[in-house]
């Protein structure tokens, strides 16, 4: 079921790349249309899975990845349609396509653990996935900023200079994406703590719940990620960091997010394996 969105995302990715090279508006519109179509089909897939298990599918890691990709695509489309700036598509789409391969190959089945049947849990996961999508955008914007900054600073105005937006726009969008992501990350972590306390009272012997502590790599890295983004916010506002440093930090932050979301989620965590 996740293959069709993947195919559409891949097609959109190719057209975004052609648009980036050629910069004609017809190809640009075709790219956006394909991505919108992909997002629409993806919405349908997630809607079907929600009807199947009676909740948004994200307890299984593959399905969580699929939901994350969906949110990232929607966030990007929002950014593109509000700024009318398509040059970022070619940088976002590889992340979207690369991640969507996972649910397309390993669809996974959603196992409805009764422990998860709490509104707190759903708020916890949706907030975090939305935060990750924002950080994904911020990370890619940071990368684009660094590319543009390098060309202008080194006085080598080449391929990217003409195609990418101004440093100021990239910086503002990056700052907003980090702020939105940080807010949702904070809410997600707090709600997670509340939910764990509540769930432990109901199922004191659940092995996942027993493993919920700072010793668990997933929780540790999550807090580290929160610390990185908190510092990014602090540095921008109080230390007057801006531009390249903030861009680099948001790219590093997204590295932590992906580490936690993919490697640790699949292979290491002991506390977050409800499947």
């Amino acid at each position: 079921m996740n293959t069709l969105p993947l195919v559409l995302y891949a097609a959109a990715g190719i057209v975004y790349a052609i648009h980036f090279a050629r910069r004609d508006s017809t190809t640009g519109r075709a790219a956006t249309t394909l991505l919108l179509l992909g997002a629409l089909v993806h919405t349908f897939v997630i809607g079907m899975q929600t009807m199947e298990v009676h909740h948004v599918p994200f307890a299984n890691p593959s399905r969580a990845v699929s939901t994350f990709v969906w949110l990232l695509t929607l966030s990007y489309l929002y950014l593109e349609l509000t700024t009318d700036e398509r040059s970022m598509g070619v940088f976002i789409l590889p992340v979207v396509i690369g991640l969507q391969v996972i649910p397309a190959i390993y669809p996974g089945t959603e196992y409805a653990d009764p422990v998860l049947d709490s509104p707190w849990f759903w708020v916890h996961v949706s907030s975090l996935l939305f935060a990750y999508a924002s950080f994904g955008l911020a990370g890619v914007l940071g990368l684009i900023y660094m590319l543009q900054f390098k060309e202008i600073k080194k006085k080598h105005l080449g391929y990217f200079y003409t195609r990418l937006p101004s440093l100021q726009i990239l910086d503002v969008m990056n700052s907003r994406a980090v702020a939105v992501g940080w807010l949702f990350l904070t809410v997600g972590v707090i709600v997670g703590v509340v939910w764990t306390a509540e769930a432990r009272a109901i199922a004191p012997n659940d092995p996942n719940l027993r493993a919920m502590s700072l010793d668990d790599p997933k929780i540790f890295i999550a807090l580290l990620t929160w610390a990185v983004y908190s510092f990014a916010m602090f540095a921008r506002r109080t230390l007057a960091w801006s531009g390249r440093r903030a861009a680099r930090l948001s790219a590093i932050g997204f590295g932590f997010v992906m580490l936690n979301f993919l490697l640790i989620n699949y292979f290491v965590t002991t506390s977050h394996s409800f499947y």
């Binding site: 004609d24 508006s25 543009q148 202008i152 600073k153 006085k155 105005l157 200079y161 003409t162 937006p165 101004s166 440093l167 100021q168 726009i169 007057a240 960091w241 801006s242 531009g243 390249r244 440093r245």
Partner: protein, 440 residues
């Protein structure tokens, strides 16, 4: 009816002559009207920019049109004809179409690909259209040329990249700051390039422009020109602290802005980007200033090399743009041919219809006895037969490959069916140049 063009451009005439033959924007409509009122010319558009004065007309006799236009230019500008005649170029029909398309695409400009020309072509057309000086010949070719200009801009990089030092600086400022609306500019030393750059920045809507110079009067003069504020020389460091864009162009033999001075002046603003354009030789800004994280320092050589790179990139696009123009000329001429077949097609249809009607009238006595339904059916059937007979000839006439074949077919049909056409077909067939040596 022929399309005829007479003009001077930077390729054929020196600047002093172009100045004398220039039409100011206020004169354009009156000139177009005066030309179109002449008996040999039915339509006219006058295109006048600093690099060209061109008159496009629709005329039944280009040779007479040329004579009349030369006389008009001589009278209008009070210049003796023999002074400018050797510098004129004249083009007809397809050659004139190709020229207009090249002009609209920016291929004939002094700075190839410059963006203003398409707007100037549109303005010239609109001014003439407002005075009802354009008809089927000029309106079709001009409207088509707007599309050509747009196509060349979107499909090639011909108009990309700044090709003057001051525009390169403004383009860079836009890539750093995005919108320039609230940005503060400091100009240190009032020279030609700094003045030009400040003017371009003003046109982009920058916020304040502060100007300082060792001689306050110079600063005040430039401030007056660009709508800025002149401050005394000793206020420079203060102004530096709040500036986003700095242009330096003094005659100083030593750097006037060092790294330590800049860091001290910026204070808490060191995290905001600062774009410094150092146009002076020797340089006004110590090169180590460029090592500060948020400072983008460009000297005149840096900007010049950007300009040269952009120029060579544009030159590489010329071939592509020329092929688009050629393609559009071919398409336009084919379309024009299909349109010039229209009078023949109309006459042919009228002839067939006349025969049909007269035959029905001849048989009226016999047909009159039929009931109304059957009578109407006969009418329909005969009309359908005529339609079907004409479908293929119509398509064939519209799609003829060249003017000669078309002329031969038209002639044959006229003779075969004894056709008489009221309307004179538009004839864009012979694209001869009256003086090819005047165009490169």
């Amino acid at each position: 009816m022929h399309l005829f063009l007479l003009g001077v451009s930077h390729r054929t005439a020196p600047i002093d002559l172009r100045e004398r033959l220039d039409f100011s924007s206020r004169d354009l409509s009156a000139a177009a009207e005066a030309i179109a009122a002449r008996p040999s010319m039915s339509e006219s558009v006058v295109l006048s920019t600093c690099n060209r004065s061109e008159i496009y007309v629709a005329s039944s006799d280009p040779a007479i049109a040329r004579e009349e236009l030369v006389a008009f230019l001589s009278d209008y500008h009070h210049v003796a004809a023999q002074l400018f005649q050797p510098h004129l170029f004249a083009l007809e029909n397809s050659a004139a179409v190709a020229h207009l398309f090249r002009v609209a695409a920016g291929l004939d400009s002094l700075v190839v690909g410059e963006p203003q020309i398409l707007g100037q072509v549109k303005d010239a057309y609109q001014v003439a259209a407002a005075k009802r000086c354009v008809g089927p010949v000029l309106s079709n070719v001009f409207r088509w040329s707007f599309g050509v200009g747009k196509r060349v801009r979107s499909e090639t990089a011909l108009g990309e990249g700044a090709v003057s030092v001051s525009f390169a600086a403004v383009a860079l400022a836009r890539k750093i700051f995005g919108r320039l609306q609230a940005r503060r500019v400091l100009v240190v030393g009032a020279g030609d390039i700094s003045s030009l750059t400040a003017q371009h920045l003003r046109a982009q809507g920058v916020g304040d422009i502060v100007i300082t110079s060792r001689t306050l009067a110079h600063a005040e003069a430039l401030a007056h020109d660009v709508g800025g504020l002149a401050v005394p020389w000793d206020g420079m460091m203060n102004a530096l602290g709040s500036a986003d864009i700095v242009i330096t162009a003094t005659g100083s033999q030593r750097p006037i802005i060092t790294r330590a001075q800049l860091v001290a002046a910026q204070g808490h603003r060191r995290s905001t980007p600062l774009f410094i354009i150092d146009i002076a030789v020797p340089r006004d800004v110590d090169p180590s200033v460029g090592e500060i994280e948020q400072v983008f320092l460009y000297n005149v050589d840096d900007l010049q090399s950007i300009v040269e790179e952009n120029l060579s990139r544009r030159a590489a696009e010329v071939e592509h743009a020329e092929s688009i123009v050629n393609d559009e000329v071919t398409k336009f001429m084919a379309w024009q041919r299909s349109r010039s077949a229209v009078p023949t097609i109309v006459a042919l249809r009228q002839r067939f219809e006349a025969i049909r009607v007269s035959e029905l009238q001849r048989l009226e006595n016999k047909l009159g006895v039929l009931p109304p339904d059957a009578r109407a059916r006969v009418d329909d059937v005969t009309r359908l037969i005529v339609e079907k007979l004409l479908i293929e000839p119509t398509e064939q006439l519209k799609g003829l490959p060249d003017e000669e074949t078309q002329a031969a077919y038209t002639e044959a049909i006229n003779r075969l069916f004894k056709l008489q056409q009221d309307e004179e077909p538009l004839d864009f067939s012979r694209g001869k140049r009256s003086d090819p040596s005047k165009r490169p």
